[in-house]
């Protein structure tokens, strides 16, 4: 990308060293209702169930885990599209846990979201110019040179033809539509972007083009990312730190080298071992997880992974393992497990998880 990237908005900055975003004990439960006429709550989906997580300026934190583990819900809580059920959400030193629309207005522009589906996330009846310009209109922002000028600048930034601002989404390919989504997210010069599976729907070569674009933007504009994906290789490529979620909780978090080379949580290990590499000489043995992820309405007691874990013992059912730094781990490498792996990526014995 040759053109210059511009950030033209002053805003609140966290004190040096302080994280840009801070989650502590964040929960999001969805009520489960029953009854035909008189609805009453009979339970709750524990979609996000006690998350502590910091994201620093300039940093990309990856979030991985099987579908249904709460990644998107967490992303929506961070952007405050959803209000947390419990816990505390701090952005640039301000408590925004329960902030109202009005209170959120000044920071809304600083936290943006990019969605997975470049088809459904763009209104088909609006021109690309209207779509990218909308956040500016809504927030009453009038950039130097006007909205159209800024839109064209953004189109160029994301590698699209600036002349195409009058076209409609269906006139673009999947990769181009995702670029439009990126341009829209950039329109308010955000500090933090929550990217929810931004490349999952794209073909490999287009995926790589968009990953490169996001990486370039991260470097040039110093935007922090919460990068959600189920593709572990892409997350490793894009994020300096990676958190692994299972049933609403973080089970392990570390710098990418530690997490990918010496995972301590059995689930992290199993997940990594299941990734097929395009190398016929890849002889890593796979840990076979049996069964499905349990329901988040009634998560297992103790350690939530225990029903699929080959190391589980009685303690795992009665005591929830805390997310802590184990001896031998680097600073910031936290694991929630009573019987952690030894940190080598060799497959442990016995290999198969217990039958349920």
């Amino acid at each position: 990308m040759s053109n210059e990237l511009t950030l033209d908005k002053p805003s609140a900055t966290p004190a040096t060293g302080e994280p840009l975003l801070q989650l502590s004990g964040v929960k999001k439960h969805f009520p489960v209702m029953d009854g035909l006429l008189f609805k009453r709550q009979v339970g709750a989906v524990h979609a996000v169930d006690g998350i502590d997580l910091d994201v620093h300026a300039n940093e990309s934190v990856g979030l991985v885990g099987e579908s249904g583990c709460g990644k998107s819900t967490l992303g929506r809580v961070v952007t405050r599209l959803l209000e947390p059920t419990d816990g505390k959400l701090t952005y640039a030193g301000q408590d925004i846990t329960h902030a109202s629309r009005k209170q959120l207005a000044p920071i809304r522009s600083e936290i943006q979201m990019i969605f997975q589906d470049p088809y459904s996330s763009l209104n088909p009846r609006h021109t690309v110019g209207a779509i990218i310009g909308a956040p500016m209109e809504i927030n009453g922002i009038n950039p130097k040179g006007g909205v159209q000028n800024r839109v064209q600048e953004l189109l160029e930034t994301v590698g699209l033809n600036p002349e195409h601002y009058n076209r409609f989404p269906h006139e673009f390919s999947g990769g181009q539509r995702q670029r439009i989504g990126v341009a829209r997210a950039l329109s308010l010069s955000p500090k933090l972007i929550v990217a929810d599976e931004p490349v999952s729907a794209l073909d490999v070569s287009i995926q790589a083009q968009v990953v490169n674009l996001l990486q370039q933007l991260q470097k040039d504009l110093g935007i922090a990312f919460l990068f959600i994906a189920h593709d572990l290789s892409i997350v490793r490529h894009f994020s300096q730190r990676v958190a692994v979620m299972y049933l609403g909780k973080i089970v392990e978090i570390a710098d990418r080298k530690s997490l990918y080379e010496s995972p301590r949580h059995p689930y992290t290990h199993a997940l990594l071992s299941a990734v097929p590499e395009a190398d016929p000489d890849d002889v890593r043995e796979r840990i076979r997880l049996v069964g499905d992820v349990p329901s988040p309405i009634n998560p297992p007691t103790g350690c939530r992974f225990r029903t699929r874990c080959w190391k589980a013992q009685d303690k795992c059912a009665t005591e929830e393992p805390p997310l802590v730094q184990l001896s031998g781990n680097l600073d910031g490498h936290l694991t929630a497990c009573h019987f952690p792996e030894d940190g080598s990526t060799a497959v442990p014995e016995p290999r198969a998880a217990k039958e349920l």
Binding site: G175, S205, N212, S233, A270, P280, R286
Partner: protein, 358 residues
């Protein structure tokens, strides 16, 4: 069970021996007439598959993978589709075969596994009924026999408590279990050819690994020939013996998994491999994706269809890339469709591509 060729015989058969292959596709072209013009979805494609082996077909969306396989299954609408060339299954010609003949083969001799099990399973009937009906249709078995067979198949694909789950409806199954149920339905008549179109694309890696294991186990047991369509080269590396890389409706590279993944010789295959980050590769350098986007199949570029996106066409003498279509050569074994000389391909791969694959 019917007698089936053993994998060893199949392996010996590969590589162009004179005996005719189990599935043989020759010069297949599929064209659709549309308002905008003729879509050349598949153009002069040839490949073969042997019993007990898996052919992985890879390529980006729109490259003609599904269209090819729908042609094998005889599922295209004859009014708007022109199919030429030859598709022989165990010696029988399928192109131009009567609709009833193809219907008899589908589900019986050949079966399909889709990406989305909900397109193959009806929400209104129990899993057991659907598996059983397929069985009854092709074997004339009684209802009781069909139910027993359904339970047997559910057991085989690893559904827990098959005797009770047989009466469940598809929505009562998790995604991974539905995929298993569909596989059970596809395999209920012991088909000799299974076409799996992105069977694990919608699944998590852990479940994907379970499903791929399952397919492999069943293949070993029954000697099935499998065509596995995917955009994931990792999946192919773990399951297939042979690979065909498709681009714009044509095969651009073909060979064994080892040949194509360890010693790729076509610029498009290089692009695919360089696009994918690995679990161990360098992280601080940008990926090297193929530039641009795939061409329109109505207005294909002249010459090599990949030429507008290729980084190496300047190295071909005489500008042939834009004027002359490169054939897939050699006839058998590891082959590519590219005008670069054998020596050029090898040295570009060694000097430029291999180092960045890590």
């Amino acid at each position: 069970m019917t007698t089936l060729a053993k994998p060893e015989e199949a392996a010996a058969d590969r590589g162009g021996s004179s005996s005719s292959p189990f599935l043989s596709v020759r010069d297949l072209s599929v064209r659709f007439s549309t308002e905008d013009g003729v879509v050349r979805a598949v153009d002069n494609l040839s490949f073969s598959v042997e019993p007990g082996t898996t052919l992985g077909i890879v390529g980006e969306s729109g490259s003609g993978k599904s269209v090819t396989n729908l042609a094998v299954l005889g599922l295209h609408n004859p009014d708007s589709t022109e199919i030429t060339g030859s598709i022989r299954l165990a010696g029988q010609e399928l192109v131009g075969a009567p609709v009833r003949e193809l219907e008899k083969l589908r589900g019986n001799t050949m079966a399909m596994i889709f990406q989305d099990p909900l397109t193959a399973l009806s929400p209104f009937h129990t899993i057991g009924k659907q598996i059983g009906e397929t069985y009854r249709k092709h074997t004339g078995a009684s209802k009781k026999e069909a139910r027993d067979r359904a339970i047997e198949m559910l057991t085989k694909v690893g559904i827990p408590q098959p005797t009770t789950r047989v009466d469940d409806y598809p929505h009562q199954f998790s995604g991974g279990m539905r995929q298993r149920a569909m596989i059970a339905m596809s395999l209920v008549c012991n088909p000799k050819l299974v076409i799996a179109d992105e069977p694990t694309t919608a699944l998590d890696v852990t479940v994907q690994a379970q499903i791929l294991d399952l397919l492999k186990d069943l293949q070993q047991e029954m000697g099935t020939a499998i065509i596995l369509i995917t955009h994931d080269l990792g999946v192919v590396a773990k399951t297939a013996q042979d690979i065909m890389v498709m681009y714009a409706g044509r095969a651009v590279e073909r060979g064994t998994v080892r040949e194509v993944l360890k010693n790729p010789q076509h610029p498009y295959t290089w692009g695919l491999l360089s696009s994918m980050p690995s679990l161990t590769g360098p992280v601080d350098i940008p990926l090297r994706p193929v530039r641009g986007t795939p061409p329109s199949l109505i207005n294909l570029p002249t010459g090599c269809p990949f030429n507008p996106r290729c980084d190496h066409r300047e190295q071909v003498v005489g500008g042939k890339c834009t004027t002359e279509r490169p054939p897939l050569a050699p006839e058998t074994g590891h082959a590519t469709a590219c005008h670069l000389s054998v020596g050029q391909k090898q040295s570009i791969f060694i000097d430029q591509i291999q180092p960045r694959l890590g």
